[in-house]
Amino acid sequence: MAILSIDNLTKNYGAIRALDKVTLSVPAKTIFGILGPNGSGKTTLLGIVMDILKVTSGSYTWAGDQTTDELRKKIGTLLETPNFYHYLSGEDNLKIAAKIKGRGEEDIDKVLQMVNLFERRKSKFNSYSLGMKQRLAIASTLLGNPDILVFDEPTNGLDPAGIAEIREIIKDLNRQGKTIIMASHILDEVEKVCTHVAIIQKGVLKTVGSVSDVLNTSVSNQVNSILIELGAADNALLKNILKQMNGLESISVDEKGIEIVCRENITAEVVNKFCFDNGVVLNKLNVKRKSLETRFLEITGKQSDR
């Protein structure tokens, strides 16, 4: 069953079309990534389904239900930036959020501990660092143990340890059977965390599906290729030898080693044997499957245009 169905959604800001006939549905119990460059319309999309922005045309339904005011109380959402009363403590801010959601205050200590903010719960929000603000916002989404969570750039402003913690929390929530919708411009994040992905650019949905489907579907008229990293004691010699190999599409050298792109029938074994037969012993051989980044660039083009 689809948790969220979006049908032909269009949003104009004056003359600018922020979303153009976007149609997608989010299956239950997935981690659904919405991936796109800055300004592609991710936040607009989430803003609309949370009723803080109004559609120009099209519609959406949450779990097949049209009335969304009550439903939103059961969704934990972090949209764009942490929004809190600056003069109140973290704890008091969560009390307000809990009251609006119609919950008691019994969850507050627990969610503050989950994001490591319990010791600072009495401090005013405006004394928090960027990362602490973000963690308070995530704590707020966990109030009332909702079955659906919506995160817009959840690791924004966090240090590496914080990023890892939040990703672990997200995966753990999914393991508990919760549906998570997550917008991000960080490919790595989507690849590491999400089960499904929608790629959106300039308000247009480019592709949508499970992460493995999106990765494995090739762009039409383009032969799939794989990327291999390799190295040897004498990289210049290695390069000259590789040039004679069949099935090679391109070769590039940098200080870290050599990268080759070849047809997908070339395996590590073939490369290794070829080099050894030609008198070079490899000290590094690493086959990279096509990453989301490659796919992303194939789909959106290499220019960072908006």
């Binding site: 803003g47 949370m50 009723d51 803080i52 922005l53 109004k54 005011d69 009550e70 939103r72 109380k73 059961k74 959402t77 949209l79 930036t81 929004n83 809190f84 009363y85 600056h86 003069y87 109140l88 008091d92 009390k95 307000i96 959020a97 009251k99 609006i100 959601k101 119609g102 707020s140």
Partner: protein, 268 residues
């Protein structure tokens, strides 16, 4: 509604600016009212020069029953702009902190947000009206004779409540439409102090009565300056027509607020 008010109260109960402005009204209004009553009565009791004697004969004494209700309502109105400013601040703060978005994301409907703010409006009107009533009572008892007619001017307490409601509805409308704190407060003061008076002057030329129906003048005229001699009063329209006008303005402002806020994108 009570539930919404409790949440609003959580937002402001430790907010220093709220207490500063609110206490400003609760302290300055009674103090200023009592002191001016005291000074005025002292001056009248010992009036020697010509000017003071003219005032004494032309003006019905403002600080004794029944006119003290009008004086209390009028002076309460002067200090009420503090509350107007505070109310604007509480609404534009939500936009500034983007919490108006968060409240709705967390599950309020847009109407819930407006109702919550309206519950604050009722709170401010109720507290300030109570204050006007208490000060009228105290000052009236202190300076009146024992056989004074206490209740006959008490309608002015009701007029004050109507005036306070209209002033806050205007503040509500400006804050929702303008969103920025500073600009909203400037526009509010411009309308309260300048625009409404200019409109009143233009529409009161040649003894026209239209001026009394200007947005704020309608309620201002219900609570006229108690120091103005009655013979200078040119208003001939009845109180009840002004009450109808005020209620109409309140409804129109409310309608615009609801219509706008339900359909707009909540941006900052």
């Amino acid at each position: 509604m009570l539930n919404l008010f409790k949440i609003e109260w959580l937002k402001i109960k430790t907010y220093r600016t709220f207490w500063l402005l609110f206490a400003g009204f609760l302290i300055f209004f009674p103090t200023a009212f009592y002191l001016s009553a005291y000074k005025y009565m002292e001056m009248m009791a010992t009036s020697k020069n010509f000017q003071e004697r003219v005032i004494k004969t032309l003006v019905e004494p403002p600080f004794i029953f029944p006119k003290v209700w009008l004086a209390s309502a009028w002076m309460g109105g002067l200090f009420f702009v503090l509350i107007g400013m505070l109310f604007i601040l509480l609404i534009t703060n939500e936009v500034h902190y983007r919490t108006h978005r968060q409240n709705i994301i967390d599950g309020w409907s847009r109407m819930d947000f407006l109702k919550a703010k309206f519950s604050m409006l009722i709170f401010f009107v109720a507290v300030s009206t109570l204050m006007v009533f208490i000060m009228g009572l105290i000052v009236g008892y202190v300076f009146s004779d024992s056989n004074a007619d206490i209740l006959s001017g008490i309608k002015y307490v009701g007029y004050f409540a109507l005036m306070a409601t209209l002033y806050l509805m205007l503040a509500f409308l400006i804050a929702i439409l303008i969103k920025r704190t500073g600009l909203s407060i400037i526009i509010y003061f411009a309308i309260v102090c300048i625009v409404d008076n200019v409109l009143w002057m233009i529409f009161s030329l040649r003894d026209s009565q239209v001026g009394y129906f200007m947005p704020l003048e309608a309620v201002d005229s219900l609570v006229p300056n108690p120091f103005k001699p009655a013979m200078f009063e040119k208003r001939t329209v009845e109180d009840y027509t002004l009450i109808i006008a005020a209620v109409a303005y309140i409804s129109v402002y409310g309608f615009i607020i609801i219509n706008y806020f339900r359909k707009t994108d909540l941006k900052t």
